[in-house]
Amino acid sequence: MAVVSRGFQGRRRQPGAGLVPPGQYLVDDFPVLSAGPTPEVPLERWDLTVVDESGAVLARWDWEAFLALPAEDVTVDIHCVTRWSKLGTRWRGVSVDTLLDGIDTDAEFAVAFCDGGYTTNLPLTDLLDGRAWVAYGYEGEALEPEHGGPARLLVPHLYFWKSAKWLRGLQLRAEDEPGFWESVGYHNYGDPWREQRYWGD
């Protein structure tokens, strides 16, 4: 076994890892919050795309190609705007850095789009530098449909509504476009450490 260097935590540490953000409480289970019916997409018809504002496809993976991408096992804390937090959740997924590698873009924003019509928006930088994944495994098993399977976005440094379930792609945009919840009261950015839950927070 390699020598462990005391105090070394590595580059990709989640801000505030192990701590509970203001206004949150810890849970042991994994609550399911649904804004609509669980989509059922056969894997043969599933794909993940990166598109630009006009809809032009910049990259595309079917399920086999997606699973063939280099993946990581990560352990992160997740914080839902409805105030529950779950520490130390384990996921397997492809880093968004990997997905966007080789795509040339001036876009500063992204919109994640999903089966069922859900969308959420983020600055593109919040998807990069090891801060976001497209996850397909949870706690050692395939991600269940009720938790967003086959694949969901995972952006643990923001409130969990940004970790869009049933992800089908990322649209890269020059301008920001508020998503499903951001356009009706939820904070455009959603940093749990600054308690950015609603507009004006």
């Binding site: 919050l33 649904s34 804004a35 609509g36 669980t38 009720e146 509504w161 499903f180 009706v184 009261g185």
Partner: protein
Amino acid sequence: MDTPTPLDGNAAAGALGELFAFDITAAVATCAACRDPRPVAELRAWLDAPGLVLRCASCDAAEVRLVRAGDRAWLDLRGIQALEIGLPAGP
């Protein structure tokens, strides 16, 4: 775990009743996506999301979105093309 099954607009009547001076659940909403007309009471209600969502019973498009903070609420009715509201017959 069972897939969450939706309730209907009756279950949203309390939350919506805080905002409207009339009973919206009896009003007929025409879906902006597919034009299906239906009383709001018959829309599919998803209540345990970060907000309340009422969806078209025919095409599942989101017709009503309601977010409630402590002292504010936001309401998005873009998914409704038009709302037909019954009024008492008057002079």
